[in-house]
């Protein structure tokens, strides 16, 4: 909702409600200039850190998976990485490959959900996915099919698609049979074709001519696009381990919100997620994904936040192609997990969740009891950048009507983070003119 007139306006987005917490958005405009932007998010994942204290080290993957129903694998994989780091355990290549395949499934289902059901309606003037389906059923059918394929991969490897039950520290409870993994190839081939169609579809949308001066932060995975491991790099020269990165991230409590806002020590705000991953790793995408990106007009980096849907679609192509590669080379790990004996120490793990860099840090005592836990999701890390985007969008959109300006603000939020953006679909928006 927007109120006010002339050069003084207040854009309010109250009740950014979601299952995990609440948030709101407020933009103050005075004499035609944006004077304040406040994205207020109340994050439930904070409570999990306290919940983890006193629990056994092997419980972390299953407990943290409950933080999110869309990216439980991200939490499981990151918890495993951090606990194994603390216990000085290395898993074999077959376990690494199986983890990566499971993670590909999550990327496919999460990206398909965001591209088709949460983000695309913004570009096509639809209130939501239902309205989009009524106007373009073929496209939505394609998105749902992609999402189902992602779910299928997660069910096959993880036992079920939401909060998989087959993951444990050190690997898996059971290695899926070669036959069940091989059966994923045909659906994944169809999904890869659908992903290519997705890139072509979103490339045809109209995009505002906006660019952000982002500090991109993402994992770098050597010769492969990063998912489950890697060093942390940035567009301004950062090149550190996950543990070193965790030391650099400063989380701050601001009076207007219970959410923590992350910034890099000495560097201020930064952006994680598809735009950052692509900018830092485009060169190691498989040829099929690079060609799709090029055909869609993407160069080696994309700084238009609205075009994140194109990058996310290119990552869909990558995830399907990578899953096919992993399916073709699958060898069941035997045993399916390695022993992760309790070990006093501190460990850090970082992985690429669909919506950005996620890191965990655990301190364990000699019995493996968790003494301290730190979980920093992409949402925390992107908050300040989203506010900067909003400031830019509002400043450039002062001539828009109240309804259009409010809608553009919500769209700007959805560009970056499904955890916020899906909530933004039912924000109570208020823009006040004074």
């Amino acid at each position: 909702m927007t109120h006010g007139s002339g050069g003084n306006r207040t854009v309010r987005v109250d009740g950014l409600a979601r299952v995990e917490g609440q948030g709101s958005l407020r933009v103050e405009i005075s004499d035609g200039a944006v004077t304040d932007v406040a994205l207020e998010i109340f994050e439930a994942p904070r409570y999990f850190e306290a919940l983890l204290k006193g629990r056994g080290h092997t419980e972390a993957p299953d407990i943290t998976a409950r933080i999110c129903g869309i990216c439980p694998v991200a939490y499981q994989m990151t918890a495993c990485a951090a606990i194994e780091d603390a216990c000085s355990v290395a898993v074999d290549e077959r376990i690494v490959a199986l983890r990566r395949l499971l993670y590909c499934g999550e990327w496919i289902q999460s990206h398909a959900l965001h591209v088709y059901l949460l983000h695309a309606p913004d570009f096509l003037g639809c209130a939501d996915a239902v309205e989009l389906a009524e106007r373009d059923p073929v496209s939505v059918q394609r998105g749902l099919s992609l999402k189902r394929t992602g779910n299928l991969v997660m069910e096959t490897i993880g036992g079920r698609s939401i909060h998989p039950v087959n993951v444990r520290t050190g690997g898996f409870y059971r290695a899926p049979s070669p036959e069940s993994v091989a059966a994923l190839a045909e659906p994944l081939r169809r999904a890869r074709d659908a992903a290519l169609d997705t890139v072509a579809w979103v490339a045809g949308f109209d995009y505002p001519d906006v660019e952000g001066d982002y500090r991109f932060v993402a994992l770098r995975g050597g010769d492969r696009y990063p998912i489950e491991s890697g060093w942390v790099g940035s567009s301004d020269g950062l090149d550190v381990s996950a543990a070193q990165f965790a030391d650099l991230v400063v989380e701050e409590q601001v009076p207007r919100s219970t959410a923590l806002q992350a910034r890099l020590e000495g560097r201020d705000e930064y952006l994680t997620g598809p735009l950052a991953r692509y900018a830092l790793n485009e060169a190691v995408l498989p040829t099929i994904a690079r060609q799709a990106a090029s055909a869609a007009g993407l160069r080696s980096a994309c700084r238009n936040p609205f075009r994140s849907i194109v990058v996310r679609s290119v990552e869909l192509v990558f995830a399907c192609d990578e899953a096919l590669r992993l399916v073709a080379s699958y060898e069941p790990p035997n045993p399916p997990s390695v022993d992760v004996s309790s070990h006093a120490g501190t460990g850090t793990g970082a992985t690429e969740a669909p919506r950005g860099l996620l890191f965990h840090r655990y301190e364990l005592d000699e019995q493996g009891v968790i003494l301290q836990a730190r979980i920093v999701p992409p949402t925390s890390q992107n908050q300040l950048t989203i506010e900067a985007d909003l400031r830019r969008v509002v400043q450039g959109g002062l001539a828009l009507s109240d309804n259009e300006l409010t809608w553009r603000c919500e769209h700007a939020v959805r560009n970056h983070d499904p955890c916020i953006s899906c909530a933004a679909h039912f924000l109570d928006v208020a823009v006040t003119r004074r």
Binding site: A127, D128, L144, P418, F426, V429
Partner: protein, 177 residues
């Protein structure tokens, strides 16, 4: 939550789905009912727990009847079992530009941040041509939706009545075949 594979889209199929979370007390009523139905009528229907109505897409395609069992909070007496025919609200489609309707009242019947409501799922299924012919909700009025597992005594006592209603609906659908 994993749903069972669709065993073919026969036009006489009856699908029963239990919605809700077992970790929120009475919200687990739907899954409790469906578990008992699965034991009593294992060949009569596809049974599976679901958390997100979006999960039903693909699973219910082409079914004659879908029975969704869930806890409800309507203000009725706790333990009341009600049967509701689902008729999705039809709203005009916006043509171009930003949505005219306030975003907090989407057509999808959005009730959570990551999914869409049951009515929205049915509308979406209709739009893409994969909707079941009929969707019926069997609701059990809950009283305790707090944290934790286990149904309240009132809702627990209502579960057999809900099972009977579901079996009755399955029987009616079969007799019309």
């Amino acid at each position: 939550m994993t749903l069972p594979r669709v065993p073919g889209g026969g036009s006489r199929r009856v699908v029963v789905a239990g919605m809700g979370s077992e970790d929120r007390r009475d919200d687990g009523a739907g899954r409790e009912v469906v578990g008992r139905v699965a034991a009593l009528a294992p060949e009569a229907c596809d049974v599976g727990p679901a958390v997100d109505p979006l999960d039903l897409l693909g699973w219910w395609d082409g079914a004659e009847l879908v029975i969704v069992v869930d806890a409800v909070r309507s203000g009725d007496r706790p333990g009341t079992v009600s049967v509701i025919e689902l008729v999705p609200e039809v709203t005009p489609t916006n043509r171009g530009g930003p949505p005219a309707r306030p975003p907090q009242t989407p057509a999808s019947g959005l009730t959570s941040t990551h999914g869409i409501g049951l009515s929205g799922a049915l509308r979406l299924a209709r739009a893409i041509g994969s909707a079941p012919r009929r969707v019926v909700v069997v609701g059990i009025e809950g009283v305790d939706f707090g944290w934790g597992t286990g149904l309240s005594p009132t809702v627990s006592a209502a579960v057999p009545r809900a099972v009977d209603r579901v079996l009755g609906l399955i029987g009616e659908a079969r007799s019309c075949a």
